[in-house]
């Protein structure tokens, strides 16, 4: 199964609510047959620009990173689901590539 990375920007909320949103998201993932590998928190920060979502203007958000293994067919429905979630400001799923070999790159030789 290919390995994906979900970068999630959640609304600036209190801790229990954030925990609940995260729990919801990961449960959805597991319900669709994904294997969640790791969950990382990149902190609560000022967003680089104000984002309008679900009739609200957000200036602060919490950044989270979920990497998981999943089948490609569930991704569209999962993204849909995330779009409909009120607490989620922005969500992006990217494929995780294998590590590039550390040999000399074919760049300009010095």
């Amino acid at each position: 199964m290919p390995r994906y990375e979900l970068s999630l920007i959640l609304k600036a909320m209190q801790r229990p609510e954030t925990a609940a949103t995260l729990r919801r998201t990961i449960e959805t993932l597991i319900a669709r047959g994904a294997v969640v590998r790791d969950l990382e928190n990149l902190g609560d920060r000022l967003l680089p620009y104000k984002i309008d979502k679900h009739n609200e203007r957000h200036s602060r958000g919490s950044y989270f990173l979920v990497d998981f293994y999943a089948a490609p067919s569930i991704l569209t429905s999962f993204l849909d689901h995330l779009q409909r979630d009120v607490d989620v400001v922005r969500s992006t799923v990217l494929k995780k590539d294998d590590r590039v070999s550390s040999s000399n790159c074919c760049g300009p030789q010095q």
């Binding site: 925990a19 729990r23 990961i26 969950l39 928190n41 990149l42 902190g43 609560d44």
Partner: protein, 207 residues
């Protein structure tokens, strides 16, 4: 009307002592066959030139002698040529020559056979060696391929083992809460700069 003549009839006509410098004779020219005779030529009776009998006899004799001699010479020469050809093909020297040629031919054929044998041996040897080389190379290639496959298998096995190790740290429904709490407690910061050796140089603060 008058045409200049040349060739065999020249000799007879020359004896008739023409008045003009050029020898001419009557020939159909301006007038065609059906045209009427010209007025100045109405009563003309054409007579052939007179022949002197004595002269004719002498001439005839001389001519016959001359032609006899010429014919004889020609036949002589022809006969000589034929005889030479005959001698070439079936003379006494011809047999010797034929025999020598046959001998030479045999000798050369024998030498040719020898050469062929020698080259055959060389070729057989060479072909054998080349076949061996090819065989060896093929075996080498097969070995290499097998080796590569083995290596691939090992790699895959290592990966599988690695994954089996990693599985212990995955998030499941049971440790979901715990992991969430852990994550919320430890925010990670990836905003740092590295120098060429890979040491962390600068790190922005997490707000």
């Amino acid at each position: 009307m008058f045409q200049v003549i040349g060739g065999r009839s020249v000799q007879a006509a020359r004896l008739l002592a023409p008045r003009s410098a050029v020898l001419v004779e009557a020939v159909r020219g301006r007038k065609s066959r059906n045209d009427p005779v010209a007025k100045s030529k109405e009563g003309r009776i054409k007579t052939p030139p007179p022949v002197d009998p004595v002269e004719m006899v002498v001439l005839k004799e001389r001519y016959s002698e001359y032609q006899l001699i010429m014919r004889a010479l020609r036949l002589e020469f022809k006969e000589e040529v034929l005889r030479k050809r005959y001698e070439e093909e079936t003379g006494s020297r011809a047999e010797e020559r034929a025999r020598q040629e046959a001998e030479e031919h045999q000798a050369l054929m024998a030498w040719n056979d020898q050469e062929n044998l020698r080259l055959l041996k060389l070729r057989v040897l060479r072909v054998q060696q080349e076949a061996e080389e090819a065989q060896r190379k093929k075996m080498e290639v097969i070995m290499q391929r097998e080796q590569q496959q083995q290596e691939l298998l090992k790699e895959k096995e290592k990966e599988i083992l690695q994954l089996q190790e990693d599985i212990k740290n995955f998030i499941t429904l049971e440790n979901l809460d715990q992991r969430i709490e852990e994550a919320l407690d430890n925010p990670k910061n990836y905003n740092f700069a590295i120098d060429k050796e890979g040491r962390v140089v600068k790190q922005t603060l997490l707000q």
